[in-house]
Every structure is written in C-alpha cells, then in structure tokens.
Subunit: 165 residues, 2 copies
C-alpha cells in the first residue's frame, strides 16, 4: 500500500501559480514557512505586517496568521495543514479548520501547495492556490495574488539571507 | 518534528457520532472500508445499493461511491482521503476533491473520521461526521445518519463474517 500523496495537474480555470527560482537553499525557505518567528518577518507584503502566527506542523494541525493593515486593522486567517514533506512540500487549506473540521466561515476558500525543489544552490519555488471555481480564482487574482505572493517571496529571500544555515 | 496527526474533541453542536463494539476484528472492518469489492456489498442500507466505488488509498486520493435508490436513481459522492492509518484511522472529506482541490459543489459538507480500536476479538467502531455548522449537522441527522450508518454497519458486520481472514 503506497501512502505517497496524490496530486492533480494545475487547472488554469481555478488555480493561480507563482513559480520562480530563488537563490536561497530550500532548507531556509522551509524554515521561513514553518516557524512562526521566521515567517512573521516576511509573510505580508509591506506596509502590511504579520502580528501573530501559530504553526502546529502536522497533518490536521493549525496554521494561523494575523495580518495587520497599514491603518491598524487585523485580519486573521485560520487553516489546516494537510501534508508536510520536510523541505519539499507543504499543503494547507482554509476550507478546513484544525483537526480537519469543516470551516463555517471560509475566507478565500483555497488549498495551497508549496513545492520546493533544489535548483543548483538555490530553490525552484512553486506556490499553487487552487480555488473552488473560476470566481474564486478571479477574486484572488484581483486582490493581487501575483504581486502579493511575489513581493512576499522577495521579502522571504531577503530575510532568509539574514538567517544563517 | 512530530508528524502525528492533530485531532480535536467532538463538538456536539456540529458533529454526529456512531460508536459501537462489533464482533469482527478490525482488520476485516478496515478491508471492508478500503477495497471497492469489499465495500460495495454493505455500504448502502438496503434496499439502496452501491453501484460504483473507486478508492485511491493515500492522502489526497479519491474516494468515490455511487448510491442507487430503489427506484433506480443514482447519487454519486466524491471525496478526498486526508489520513490513512491502516487498521486504525481513516479520514476523508467531501469539501475537497482528489488532490485536495476545493469542491465547487459540495454535497453534505462534512469530514468523516473512522476510528477502529481492538476490543477483545472485536472492534470498537467510532464513526464521526463533522459538519460546517449546526444546520449541516441537523440536515444529516434528519436524513437519518444514526439509522443509516447503523444499518450499514450491521450489513458490514454480516458481510465481514463471510470474508474470511
């Protein structure tokens, strides 16, 4: 019995993808995504900030962040990890709460897959957001997925270079 | 880093639970839940029948069944496995499609947890259905969760006794 995870190909009608090769090793990218103290410095495109983060890094575990707008409003996000393959693959969704419990108030309504591959001394970084329908994709695209996730990645790279191995 | 799964306690506002000790070993209960040929004979309370079943037994894998009503109407169900611990624990949801893709048309909208524990030569069988809200729980209860899952379990036990080890 194989317990390797099942994945599906990208569906351009519902999915948004950010793919880039960055010049930091994937172990540091992984750390930046999986430890609150290493996530908070880069996770929100400035001038937004991340003011809280909880990570229970196991299937069914909590992934929560609170983003603060420049005028001081807080926006909490709560999700559930689905799959964790260290340094390689992180999957979570906001359709489920911790413990796989269905969320009653869903935010954006997406599953995110972060895939990391070694690329020389750097990392091929692929972030995929899968939405319920074309409307969900469009809403996320209009909110600035490409720019927001891209700018956050710039911040991650800059931060990772200060982390040390 | 622990990869044991995170679970949450039962919430009586949103969850339905069927718990019973049955006199078949859990290995047979597991087989009855995880192989199409061993699931189809018992899965629907008669006179309903299960006319199709696909199982891709891994996290993110497909779990689909088609139920046929006594007057010949087919009702397909499509879900995604979240967690698989052989002979112990099976978790799936219909809020996600295979590959963890968010479902656009959600059926009942629940995550199911099947927990099996050895109890003498038998099995303590606990099936929990977690819904998005109290309305979802009520709808499922009114549709006959307790009777339906209970009768299916009776059928499972009767079938398992014909399976051999």
């Amino acid at each position: 019995m194989s317990l390797r995870s099942a994945t599906t190909p990208v569906d351009p009608r519902t999915d948004l993808v950010l793919e880039r090769v960055v010049d930091v090793p994937r172990e540091l990218v992984w750390r930046a995504w999986t430890r609150p103290k290493d996530l908070m410095p880069w996770f929100c495109p400035k001038p937004w900030t991340t003011v809280a983060c909880e990570i229970d890094l196991r299937p069914g575990g909590k992934f929560s962040t609170t983003m603060r707008s420049p005028d001081g409003k807080d926006f909490p996000n709560l999700g559930c990890y689905l799959e964790i393959v260290e340094n390689e693959r992180l999957v979570w969704t906001d359709l489920l709460l911790p413990g796989y419990r269905p969320a009653s108030n869903v935010g954006m309504g997406f599953t995110a897959i972060l895939a990391l591959e070694a690329a020389g001394k750097g990392t091929r970084y692929t972030a995929t957001a899968m939405h319920r329908d074309e409307g969900g994709r469009k809403q996320h695209a209009d909110m600035g997925f490409a720019e927001g996730w891209g700018k956050a990645l710039d911040q991650l790279v800059a931060y990772a270079k200060t982390m040390g191995a």
